[in-house]
Symmetry: C2
Subunit: 383 residues, 2 copies
């Protein structure tokens, strides 16, 4: 069995005074300190990053990380658009499954705010198909198509979507690492400017900087000495077509449905066992689709369910969603997101989530999506 | 034990009429046909690519490959500059070590000639440190510094280096997939234009397009039915500083020395057991350093040894190097290179190397390097 024993994240936000590798160093130092792990005791490093090449002409980060860590061990960089972090974690788990008594460092990071919004939007569209890029479809455009289809098919309005953002902004006020820490109202969302109809600014996750790191181990001697640990019950990946037009249904993310079934089968627990979940709410519609595709809610009922506010912290629900603030309020430094999601679940399951601590949380799930659903990663942890 | 059962490579060269994913599709179809493997029987895909993001704004190839293959399985893209292919193979092997009875597809590909030389050179410099990029150091510049240091320290001249290119161009004439298929002479090399003194055009690998694919398996029922198989004795990775200025010695690639020791220890064979090797000759000096750092020759004697031409095909040597033509003549479509190297060894060990077949080849080694030595991968196969 593999255990997460430590997690550290930088603050997410517009961190003008820090470079990508400043953030990476802060995350590495933070997580090593939290676990009392010496650099020389790390056996391999897995790094999730999407945009450093396109935006900063920075590739070969395997070597850069070797330089920062002052080690000569295997370092891997993986990229799967916005699922880069979750994918790095999955590869790290496979490494542990193949090798006994090892400690791995998993890092996700992104530096986005040093570039113009136009540059970032073009770079992010690299996760869509060539056709979609040529048609001028941005990510908000792709998710807007899904949102329009969903709202019309199930007779909902933009107000239903707004509940996602209101909840996640409230959770952001409870997380001192979150990009946005202010409450917003349903009216705030509905009155915000359209990005791609029906999605508005306040339906959308921001452009953020940040880095998050995890230590995972199957070295029992090391794990025993740790103050905190959570076991990794499952880490699964599924993929799907990159072009939306090749999908049968656009009121669902098929890759999420497939990977969810695989992960629950592997973890040998039921959907109803999950107490906390971090879902990939790049846009408000995405959290509703995720709740349905993961099997927490039935297809089509998400628009209604979200208005009941049972997934909001403090309302006594059985499943609290996106206590970190989600991508919407915690921020979305692309490569870091998948690691932060798993880290937030680790904090919840080990009683370290402070003023957003969900009581008696035993099982948690993290759900990380690439692009408009071409890659989906689900991780299930147990306290 | 893991076995390679199939290999296919497209022609390497200036393939103006084909896109990156046209090449990927050709490689996939070719390798699946050679092994009679159905798409639905692939359990995971590992894709090595360096530049599609920077040059073509194409990321999220995990999803693109899912679309091409019409499957929903895990797909991973990894990047480690020019070692992207070798790294993808290493991750694939780890996946098999962690999971029994699986078949994996490993692909490397790059599309470089659709862009201007300036764009490609800038993109390739993404594998160097930020400082080196700002100083205007290109890859030929970095290897030229190593070459100058080596030639001065051990009292050699540019002529010593030229023997590498002459050998590899000769081997290229024997490989119908090679980018360059013409013999060159020592004088041709010495009279070619300087790129970065003392390295000339004919000391340098070209900018190429191409895709290569391998099927690796630990499913014994599948392996038994195959016409050809080679066992994977070792696949190891080491890293080092990205900046040349942080290295103690620049007449060696430390990552190659470290990974070589690890790989031979894992494979439980001696250096002298290796009959064929594909080494990372991005520049002529690189093959000489590699021969020394891998332990085939002593440090400093490479400049002399290469003139003896014992590593040339047909001269009866115990170790023949770069029968594919190496990066120099076979071409260097970055992400494909590491896969092509392993594929060439597979062909040699299974008697499929046609008019460049080394007789009685039992053990082979592939050596793939990222940047100026920040990442090194060594793979050892046995017939």
């Amino acid at each position: 069995m593999n255990y997460i024993t430590g997690y550290y994240t930088t603050k997410f936000g517009e961190l003008w005074d820090k470079s990508l590798f400043d953030l990476v160093e802060e995350a590495i130092n933070g997580v090593l300190k939290s676990t009392n792990l010496e650099r020389k005791k790390i056996d391999a490093v897995f790094f999730g990053n999407m945009l450093a090449g396109v935006l900063g002409n920075n590739l070969h980060s395997t070597s850069k990380l070797s330089e920062i860590l002052d080690v000569n061990i295997p370092v891997f960089r993986t990229e799967a658009a916005c699922a880069s972090g979750g994918t790095a974690f999955n590869l790290a788990k496979t490494y542990l499954d193949a090798n006994s008594n090892k400690n791995v460092l998993v890092i996700g990071a992104e530096k986005m705010t040093d570039y113009s919004p136009e540059e970032v939007i073009t770079a992010l569209s690299a996760a869509a198909s060539g056709e979609e890029q040529e048609a001028g479809l941005t990510f908000s455009g792709l998710y807007a198509m899904m949102a329009n289809f969903y709202l019309e098919k199930y007779h909902y309005t933009e107000k239903n979507l707004a509940y996602v953002s209101v909840k996640n902004h409230y959770h952001g006020t409870l997380n001192d690492k979150a990009h946005f820490r202010r409450k917003i109202s349903i009216d705030d969302v509905l009155e915000s400017a359209y990005v791609s109809y029906p999605l508005k600014v306040l339906d959308s996750s921001p452009i953020s900087d940040g880095a998050s790191a995890i230590i995972m181990s199957n070295n029992l001697n090391f794990i025993k000495k740790q103050d905190y640990s959570a076991s990794v019950l499952a880490s699964e990946i599924a993929t799907d077509t990159i072009s939306l037009k090749s999908r049968k249904n656009i009121d669902e993310i098929l890759a999420t449905k497939i990977v969810s079934d695989k992960a629950f089968k592997m973890a040998k627990i039921k959907r109803s066992d999950i107490n906390v979940a971090e879902l990939h709410d790049c846009f408000s519609i995405a959290e509703i689709l995720a709740m349905e595709d993961l099997g927490f809610w039935k297809k089509g009922e998400g628009g209604q369910k979200i208005m009941e506010e049972s997934t909001t912290y403090g309302n006594g629900g059985n499943l609290i969603v996106n206590t970190s603030g989600g991508l919407k309020a915690s921020g979305h430094p692309v490569g870091a997101t998948g690691i932060k999601q798993i880290g937030e679940i680790f904090l919840q399951l080990t009683g370290q989530a402070n003023n957003r601590q969900v009581k008696n949380a035993k099982y948690g799930l993290a759900h990380n999506v690439g692009g408009s659903g071409g890659t989906a990663v689900v991780t299930i942890l147990s306290s």
